[in-house]
């Protein structure tokens, strides 16, 4: 046997010291006064590139850390309902039914406008056009090959090979899915009947991937793939973006301008509105707001006043100064009316009944 105790300290003192040091290291940072306020958010992957940039800049500016985990809009809503996060992110606004089930009143604050686009992996990556019925039929599994005559009809200059279409959709609960299925339901009655709209639906065909990044990643590598993602994911990865014939019959390319045009409608006070299948003649038909969801009354679960204040400050910054980061990432900034409505909503956030925002 080897003697393992050739230290200078008596053995129990050494052991005790290590345990003491470890405990200090573990519990010290957890003491409430040890660090500044950190905010935790979870939800949509739709605005994740924007939020990731915004929160990074915000941290440089104010020292407040905002930890946002992009787990999908469904996850954001669920974690907010469980009160395990400070705010949720969702591109699917909560329905009246969902709001009724929440433990307290939840507010929707819009942060930017984005576009859900269709992208694909076809040799040569040509610019393609689609009609709503075409999109519905592909996702319903009725059109299975790229060489189908209906696709060629709308894209006469392109020659397609006989590749099978690999439909890609979300495997997680997604606001992007909600926006997309909301649009297809409005534009195609068979889809509305058979599948409907939702954050997660019973897809008739296709492969699933997690998050906007997962879908973009899969489509990028899978020849013949066809799926829907938020605009920035396609642009950042140099993937092709389809133009869509909108309600008025115009062929629209997704972009900041066409997205903003779709948002040019009167907004309800709580900003919960769908912008899909827009009536605007040059508007992109699958545009949407994305929202940050918070509880109106912030003193739940022993939250501190300080945390509530930081949250309100963050929201104020995101809807004003933070908007400067939208365009470089191909999101459309909030229209003036949306900012006004957002300000009113932020002002209504209270702590113990008292308004926080001054």
């Amino acid at each position: 046997m080897n003697s393992l105790r050739r230290g200078k300290l008596p053995p129990h003192a050494a052991k005790g010291l290590t345990i003491f040091v470890v405990f200090i290291l573990l519990f010290f940072p957890s003491l409430p006064w040890a660090k500044g306020v950190e905010l935790l958010g979870a939800g949509a992957t739709f605005p994740y590139p924007l939020y990731s940039k915004m929160f990074h800049e915000y941290w440089q500016l104010t020292g407040v850390k905002v930890n946002y985990q992009a787990i999908g809009s469904g996850g954001g809503i669920r974690q907010l309902m469980n009160m395990t996060v400070d705010f949720g992110g969702s591109d699917a606004f909560m329905s009246d039914g969902e709001l009724a089930k929440a433990p307290a009143k939840i507010l929707h604050i819009p942060t930017c406008l984005g576009a859900v686009i269709l992208t694909y992996n076809v040799p040569g990556n040509p610019e393609l056009t689609f009609t709503p019925d075409l999109i519905a039929d592909i996702f319903l599994g009725k059109i299975t090959k790229w060489s189908d005559i209906r696709i060629a009809e709308v894209n006469p200059e392109v020659t397609f090979s006989n590749m099978p279409i690999a439909v890609v959709h979300r495997s997680d609960g997604s606001g992007t899915t909600f926006i997309f299925t909301d649009y297809v339901s409005k534009a195609n009655s068979e889809w509305q009947r058979r599948v409907g709209r939702g954050k997660a639906v019973n897809w008739p065909v296709g492969l699933g991937a997690k998050g906007n990044p997962g879908v973009a990643g899969l489509i990028r590598q899978l020849p013949g793939a066809f799926g829907y993602v938020e605009l920035v994911y396609a642009l950042q990865n140099r993937m092709p973006v389809a133009s869509i014939r909108n309600k008025k019959g115009t062929l629209v390319q997704p972009g900041i301008a066409s997205t903003s045009l779709a948002a040019n409608i009167p907004l309800p006070d709580d900003t919960r509105i769908s912008l899909t299948n827009t009536d605007a003649s040059e508007g992109y038909p699958i545009s949407s707001f994305t929202w940050i969801l918070v509880y109106q009354e912030q003193s739940y679960r022993k939250r501190s006043m300080e945390k509530a204040q930081e949250l309100v400050k963050l929201l104020g910054w995101m809807t004003h100064e933070g908007q400067q980061y939208t365009e470089s990432l191909h999101y459309a900034p909030l229209p003036a009316e949306a900012v006004r409505k957002a300000e009113k909503i932020i002002k209504s956030i209270t702590y113990n009944g008292e308004q926080i925002h001054r």
Binding site: A42, K53, N67, Q69, A209, G217, Q236
Partner: protein
């Protein structure tokens, strides 16, 4: 004996041996392929900045995995603190009580726990800790990992102590050394290599676990040492970055895989050295 028939059988014998050797070595190919790919793609990402910086926003080049490394380390420490003492004492109990109701149940429990899928342990940690604490935390992730360490350490302790002859214990008791000191100061040190091996094996196992962390540790783009807040970890980072579409993130994931594999290999290596140098021999 039919000459032809014998020659055929001898031929079969040789062919069989060749087949066995071929298949055995072929099954080693994946290991080398994996190590090769990770080294080839990951080494180029490694640098001092890579290991010490935080991650950059989506789509920007650069950044590092410092918070994931620290987070993994934090989780391992949180997991070890309850798991190692409890695992060792349970192992001692089992080696001291070879029969009895509790021993039987305990052995059964340890076996079942060891085979439980890690995603199920993640569900449990979520139900027990995340909901009650009202949030995601390094603590809940660490506890999930700790539960996974327990059975490995318990079995390793029990197996090691079984190798130590009773005569050692009885000699110590005969000299008047109290029971607890006999165990703590005589028996356990004698079995040090086996127990340490068990601990290192369990550490190597949990360092790479992802599933239980998905809904407990949750992830964090910033550095975090606070155990009641979410934390990032190497396997989580690899999962998120690998399934993204950004090539920069893919490179970071390869680099992080490189780091993770190195940690696992080092732990394996240390285990082997300890097992040889401090062999439990009587």
């Amino acid at each position: 004996m039919d000459r032809e028939r014998v020659k055929f059988r001898i031929g079969k014998d040789k062919a069989f041996m060749a087949l066995v050797i071929l298949l055995s070595f072929f099954s080693m190919v994946p290991l080398f392929l994996i190590l090769f790919y990770i080294m080839r793609n990951g080494l180029s990402s490694l640098s001092w900045e890579f290991l010490t910086e935080l991650s950059k926003p989506v789509g920007e080049v650069g950044g590092g995995i410092a918070n994931a490394i620290v987070g993994s380390f934090l989780l391992v420490v949180i997991a070890s603190l309850p798991a190692i003492p409890m695992g060792i004492t349970a192992g001692v109990y089992l080696s001291e009580h070879k029969r009895g109701r509790l021993s039987y149940l305990l052995r059964l429990a340890v076996e079942v726990l060891q085979g439980t899928p890690s995603i199920v342990i993640g569900i449990i940690a979520y139900l027990w800790l995340v909901i009650s604490m009202g949030g995601f935390s390094a603590l809940s992730g660490g506890v999930a990992l700790g539960i996974m360490m327990l059975p490995v350490i318990t079995r390793a302790t029990e197996e090691t102590l079984k190798l130590i002859p009773d005569s050692l214990k009885e000699a110590s008791l005969a000299l008047g050394v109290p029971y607890y000191r006999t165990i703590l100061k005589v028996i356990l040190p004698a079995g040090f290599s086996g127990i340490a091996t068990g601990i290192l094996i369990s550490l190597a196992r949990i360092a790479g676990e992802t599933a239980p962390l998905l809904f407990t540790a949750f992830g964090n783009p910033f550095m975090n040492l606070n155990i009641i807040k979410p934390v990032n970890a190497l396997p989580l980072l690899i999962y998120n970055y690998a399934t993204s579409p950004y090539p920069e993130w893919h490179s970071i994931a390869w680099g992080a895989s490189c780091v993770l594999i190195c940690i696992v290999l080092i732990l394996n290596f240390v285990t082997r050295i300890i097992a040889q140098r401090w062999k439990v021999q009587f």
